[in-house]
Subunit: 150 residues, 2 copies
Amino acid sequence: MKKHILLYGLLGGVLIAVLNLIEYRFLVIEHSAEIYGALIGLLFALLGIWLGLKLTRRTDTIIVREVEVPVPASLPFARNDETLRSLGITPRELEILEQIAAGLSNREIGEKLFVSENTVKTHSSRLFDKLGAKRRTQAVQLAKELRLIP
Amino acid sequence: MKKHILLYGLLGGVLIAVLNLIEYRFLVIEHSAEIYGALIGLLFALLGIWLGLKLTRRTDTIIVREVEVPVPASLPFARNDETLRSLGITPRELEILEQIAAGLSNREIGEKLFVSENTVKTHSSRLFDKLGAKRRTQAVQLAKELRLIP
DNA sequence: TGTGAAATCACTCTAAAGGATGACGCGAAA
DNA sequence: TTTCGCGTCATCCTTTAGAGTGATTTCACA
């Protein structure tokens, strides 16, 4: 990470030096000064932008970490249909619940299930009501406790 | 992110213009040109370094490869401290994460931890950044996958 | 002694979520 | 055939989340 900054500083320094040299020549042969100034600005701006792009782009370090996951000795998850029915949660609502738990926004859920965002809102509102939740995070938490979702 | 680049371009443009104006004066009164060049370089270099610092934050994409390891499962939950450290998640941020997972709102978390809602927001913002999450539900989901929370 | 990480808080905006209500089509059951 | 549950969609409105920025304090470490 810090290498980038150091690298930039170095390049900047070198550029300054080089440009200073060039400047001498330009001045000696009495060249157009404004063009020169613009060029300097452009060069440094380009350098900065290039750097910015370098850092912004998906040049991210990809860390592959192997996590030891205990093989599902605990059952692969059995949905609690009793509770599901007793709460009167419909299949569609359950579907929305699962998507919410997956961390999707209402819009994303709508796109995924081919319905409007409004519909998703309606479903989730009714869902929260049935679950007694005030927020989607709470709904997820409750649903997990009730074993409605894994 | 892209805002930074745009901002940089804009500032660069403005600087070029300003510098060109200054250049005129400098040339008119026949001033030392190398000082001027160094100044330009310095300004742009500073801009670039500032940009670099802004962008140098962790953007690592963490890929978790799950390896099935037969373990007598149902262990009381062991926090993945490796990941925790590699992501640079602070103890306080983890605390907020747990509360978010519990389904609390920012306000409720603030009251529970005796800090302002604004503070909770700051923590959660940084947390989402480190986790690469866009929403709190997604943060919870990712954190569970990464075994940062039960 | 100053440098940096961490925690705290504020303020402004935009985006997303959520509540309330009404409406419509469709298929199953009364 | 009418009723009712379900899924669909909308509109208005309020609340909550989240992004971005800047500032202060504390504490450890060099």
